[in-house]
Symmetry: C2
Subunit: 495 residues, 2 copies
Amino acid sequence: MIDFDEDEFRLKLITAQYELRESVQIGRPRGVLVLVNGIETAGKGDAVTNLRQWLDPRLLKVVYLDTQEPSQTEPIWQRFSGHLPRHGEVTVMFGNWYADLIYAMVNKTLTKKEIAKHRQHIETFEMDLMANDTHLVKCWFDVSNKTLKKRLKNQKSSDLYGIDWKDKAQIEKIRNFQQLIQATSTPSTQSGSETASKTPIKNPSDTHSPVWQVINGEDKDTAAKQFAQIVYKGLTAPVYQRAKAKRPFPKASIPNCLLNPDNQNIDREDYKTQLNALQAELAKLVHKHRKKNIVLLFEGMDAAGKGGAIKRLVSPLDPREYVIHNIAAPEPIELQHPYLWRFWHRLPHADAKNSTNSRLTIFDRSWYGRVLVERIEALTSQSAWQAAYEEINRFEAQLTDQGTVLIKFWLAIDIDEQLKRFKERENTPHKRFKITPDDWRNRDRWEEYVQAASDMLALTNHDNAPWHVIATNNKHQARLAVLSNCVNILKNIKK
Amino acid sequence: MIDFDEDEFRLKLITAQYELRESVQIGRPRGVLVLVNGIETAGKGDAVTNLRQWLDPRLLKVVYLDTQEPSQTEPIWQRFSGHLPRHGEVTVMFGNWYADLIYAMVNKTLTKKEIAKHRQHIETFEMDLMANDTHLVKCWFDVSNKTLKKRLKNQKSSDLYGIDWKDKAQIEKIRNFQQLIQATSTPSTQSGSETASKTPIKNPSDTHSPVWQVINGEDKDTAAKQFAQIVYKGLTAPVYQRAKAKRPFPKASIPNCLLNPDNQNIDREDYKTQLNALQAELAKLVHKHRKKNIVLLFEGMDAAGKGGAIKRLVSPLDPREYVIHNIAAPEPIELQHPYLWRFWHRLPHADAKNSTNSRLTIFDRSWYGRVLVERIEALTSQSAWQAAYEEINRFEAQLTDQGTVLIKFWLAIDIDEQLKRFKERENTPHKRFKITPDDWRNRDRWEEYVQAASDMLALTNHDNAPWHVIATNNKHQARLAVLSNCVNILKNIKK
């Protein structure tokens, strides 16, 4: 039994909750996500009900999504990303990525290899949540098979994992899973936390992926108190510290394609002919691969021709076949989530029922803003943008690992050509809106942008998601190059 | 043929788009929603592609949701509410509520009566969009059956309405539908706008529901230009003016239940016994009706016991069975949408796949904030809160019409009891967080709140969604009353 003064503990809990909320105001934002999983009848529901009575319910969300087959086309956590706590809040999540994984395992809908892959996605995702101000607490409620059997006589089981809890073979499976995922867990330091299944425990010091807290549900009242204490620890846990920033950050050498983005002139008639041919081919390929997630992203200096290239790319397509996201400064609500959050929910979703139907998703500017404008304008800390290269690599690897085709373009222009285009924009009435004081200001930091682009190209260029640098001093050639790159890539992907 | 200077028109279009964006800054916020429907091959896609080339794409969204069977449990427009334009933006929507309606009509999945009901939901919804700063433009692309037949030889048809466009009987149905929905339309004033199907037209002066603009798609280029001009007119249309505010607003008489919220004391043991019995019964009923949308809302003065009543209501339930929304001041993004928007997407959704599973939805404070705090603190205009009574009535009628059970509680407390509770909160460490300077400030305006509550009760009390006023000077009796009201209502609903 845990012995404590209930009123005193409630006060501590609520005080911690209010400090969490204030963490946003004082510039150390933090949210807390509590995952609840475990054996049926082990007291999960009672423990959460109890927590709800003790915490200020206005700052607590409880989320329960139906368990379902993990998606074949997106990382297993993606459908939950819209339900993550914002900074200052606590979210308790029942049906979560582990529930889906257990479901797949018990019902044998995934191979061992696929399960291993999903587990790896989950682990890196959780690490990156922790590193982005969302503290994660994972609770596993446990009871012995004997207690489970006894309790099932008196209560109905839920359908959280799609398990028949009276089927010994299925229980055996979940026990194996429990051992598997807890293999990297440390025991809860609370008393009464020995697991009923005596899980072997180790705690590698080199990982930040949060460990499982195992709660013994033999006595439900004790379990509820223990759960509340674990949540309290989560609320008051120290903020995760990113690795210290490197000062100075090692400079990548500047590739020639950024220094000399000259390309040949092309005759207007030739351009039109080639453009038409490529567009027709693209339209066919997009239609052919319409069930495939295809993500195109465009980065480049102002006036490098991103908008123009996108225009030519989509003009042969039916507007119902694609979606364009124009990425500007983040919204207040986006700033209250991990950096990549605002891209997670813009990605094509497996479940098209309530999302848009389009699988071809185009980003006009993208998550690379973190290591470009945010770096140069010091809109984020040095440690944050430096960590972003690896976060982005992991994020992109998860996408491509699940079959997304990711095509990344850097449109390269030189400083003289940019000036020419700025002036042309100022002199063309219907293009004037395209030029703002920001553009002139960015131009003053040209060298810094070139260095940042070089670093980005060096650190985020991978076989699964390579960069395509397009010389754009000649617009027409650039547009043809973008189109022909897309056509070549789409030609070579498996259906 | 429409004759115009393309560059000049593009400039006008973009200027209008920028003025739309600035409408937010200058305090006259407005969004524009363009619905695109019509006969296959009539040039919808080309027209939208053309618009995308002309407008600034960063302020334009194109949305296409799969057509599907209208929901049996929510208003037909609800699944689209997350895709409405925010103020300052233009959204073009293909698969929309009309697409779903056509689908249902062609495939005979709805009765005539159900279709009429959905049409009425749509009409009131559109009116309320217009009255809440979302300008609506409805475009119907039309071609003759002869042209349709000819064009189908050369192009595949989309699956927008689930229609076989080679089936004469189905085409006949959509022509009938076209006549039906356009019966209240005025002709577009553009040249070339005669419809191929010679729809009879009338324009009732007493409705604000926007009329259909019929676009003749015989020549696709002309149709695209005409479409752009219609969108331009939408961008520059005068802001919808609400009816002038009544000054003074007629006062409802204050009901006795607000003036004397005394209720009998109850013995602590009796309370516990009755509470347990009611909670057990409620738990059974909630489980029984778990496939039903049930919405409970709580309003009342500060410290009237909303939180406490909700606690006792949910404590017998599994936390996976319900969801609680605590409604505070709106977020920036919520202020850029119609007032009710932030409730639309908190309502239980028909498609549980990517939303939470819970059908029992509890609002701790609700949409009635518009006619309570927003009225008294002058957070909105007089004409806006005065119009809100009817908007809320329509909104609630749509919910209950689709089978939602809506239970509304006003918890009534008197001014002395409130003071006693405020002081008790200040003196109980773990309750101190519940009392803020705002509460004391609201208390100073007690009489105004009582009047606002009386007006609200008088103007929004209907058979489909009646108010339950609960005397709460005695907390225990109040909690029992809330529970027994819920139990009685749930007992009597059809499964």
